[in-house]
Amino acid sequence: MSTVTLASRRRRAALRTLAFMSPWLVGFAVFFAYPLLSTVYFSFMHYDGFAAPTWSGGQNWGYVFEHYPLFWPALRNTLWLVLVTVTLRVVFGLGVGLLITKVRTGTGVFRTLFYLPYLAPPVAATMAFAFLLNPGTGPVDSLLEKAGLPAPGWFSDPAWSKPALTLLALWGIGDLMVVFMAALLDVPREQYEAAELDGASRWQRFRYVTLPAISPIVMFAVVTGVIQAMQCYTQPLVAGKVASGVIQGAGVQFEPGYPDRSTLTLPQLVYNLGFQRFDYGSACVVALVLFVLSMAFTALLMRRRGGLIQAGD
């Protein structure tokens, strides 16, 4: 084959790749690269959306970190959600996954019932939980009282609002259950049989056979859980609004994080600063904090060794 046709063939292949990739290349430039750079740009500008943006140096950064009263509570809450919710999600998801692999009767029914809450739209699920946990009229507290247990204020009590959000997150565990179940069923049965012959106890079999085999999925659950917790927006916002009885509509202002800033998360601050206070510059500072945190966790996901998603093959 002559070199000319080889070169032209290569060029054709490159063009073909370019053509197939083009929707994403455009999307990447317009909806990722450009706005990301603009976010950096605006974080150094004073901009209220009307007057032309003016250079403000590090002012927005100083404002967010030192004077904006909502930043540190939001960061603390986000970290709380990351630590507590993610841990419980993984433990509970694995537990439910294990349980479903042990169920012998009515497996399909149980699996479907466990999975359904995952499908509930977040706003609808949050509204439902705000009602269920509503102090005074909600069924949960009335059941607790009937059982002689103390009835917490849930979304209306700063000490209980984050646990209530966690409960909501645990209710929607269906996706994790499916992933864990698939992984558990993939563990080779011979390994269990060999361990059993060696006299391994139930716990030892779990510890030395099951856990190592599913560790990539545990890791997957941790990292996706962390990213989910960092993006947590709709649930705390809706729960806070419903519990505080705010009436929503165009132009209605509400203090985010009800009660007492306990359900504030970082994504809510971007909305608060940018779209309630029209301080786009400071909103971009918080956006960048969120960006750095989420990319740090993404990097963990894509590590060459021990990472979950291997780009190469």
């Binding site: 990739m21 692999t101 012998r104 977040p122 992933v179 971007v270």
Partner: protein, 297 residues
């Protein structure tokens, strides 16, 4: 998967003392597992049950502590459906979810195909960037995106800022489809190429029919993403109630009907129901998609 799940309890044929003990242990284990499963099932289903029951209560009873409706107020659902705006929110949601799903599947498929089956320089980098986009909270880029759509194109108060970007490949769909296409053996593609098929024809005639389950899963995820989206409509459509979607409108419903938990829960049921109905018709695709997200690529 189901075969393993459905495996029956080991049959014990003869009852010698040690076998009887083993059988008792198996029975106890069966009981323990199933009572745990029932407890879990209650945790997962009772919220639905209470929501539906409350949606059928009278106004005053919804505020009481009774759990079962005294009279079954089916009319609540009629009131919700006739609330001004509710049907518009349905239409908008179907438009956003339907059009968005079609656009994102059509635009993501060739990208996923290239990432899975072409060898080219920058492929790994592209894949890493796709994954980064997938992990990016929408709030990171929302300020410039909003300014772009609202100030430059004057399209705030419409659903276009939500729908149009879906025509440019969605990172999550690309990733999921790529995971799926990796499992299709190259031999099929080579055979098509030998027969003189161009890449586009190979994709449409050979890959698409084989990738139907993956495509179905991605389409469902996209549909529900749009159906559930709250942040997008809040940013772009909040100023114009005519452009609200169900997820966004539902919350305002609680505001408009201040203490009417019964109507609010009826509306909640009406927003949840389609999702759950679709699930029953497309269970397999769903579970397949969820499993794929956790699979090594």
């Amino acid at each position: 998967m189901t075969q393993v799940l459905d495996r029956p309890v080991k049959a014990v044929s003869r009852a010698t003392p040690s076998r009887r003990a083993a059988r008792r242990r198996a029975l106890l284990e069966w009981l323990a597992v199933h009572s745990l499963a029932v407890a879990a099932a209650l945790f997962f289903t009772l919220p639905f049950v209470f929501v539906v029951l409350t949606s059928l209560m009278s106004d005053s009873q919804a505020l009481s502590r009774d759990l079962i409706p005294h009279t079954w107020e089916w009319g609540n659902y009629r009131s919700v459906l006739s609330t001004p705006g509710f049907l518009t929110w349905w239409r908008n949601t179907l438009l956003y979810a339907g059009l968005g799903t079609v656009l994102s599947v059509v635009s993501s498929l060739p990208v996923a195909y290239a990432l899975a089956k072409f060898r080219f320089r920058g492929r790994n980098l592209s894949l890493m960037l796709v994954i980064s986009m997938m992990m990016l909270p929408p709030q990171v880029v929302v300020v410039p995106m909003y300014l772009f759509w609202a100030k430059q194109l004057d399209l705030s108060g419409t659903l276009w800022p939500l729908i149009v970007p879906m025509a440019f490949g969605d990172a999550f769909s690309i990733f999921l489809l790529r995971q799926f296409l990796m499992t299709i053996p190259d031999e099929y593609l080579d055979a098509a190429r030998v027969d003189g098929c161009g890449e586009l024809r190979t994709l449409l005639r050979v890959v698409v029919p084989m990738a139907k389950p993956g495509i179905a899963a991605v389409a469902l995820f996209q549909f529900f993403y749009a159906w559930n989206d709250y942040f997008g409509p809040q940013i772009y459509a909040s100023e114009n109630p005519g452009a609200w979607t169900l997820s966004y409108g539902l919350e305002s419903f609680k505001g408009a009907h201040h203490t009417d938990w019964n109507l609010t829960m009826a509306a909640t049921v009406l927003v949840m129901a389609p999702v759950i109905l679709v699930f029953f018709f497309a269970q397999k695709a769903f579970v397949e998609g969820v499993t794929l997200t956790g699979v090594k690529g």
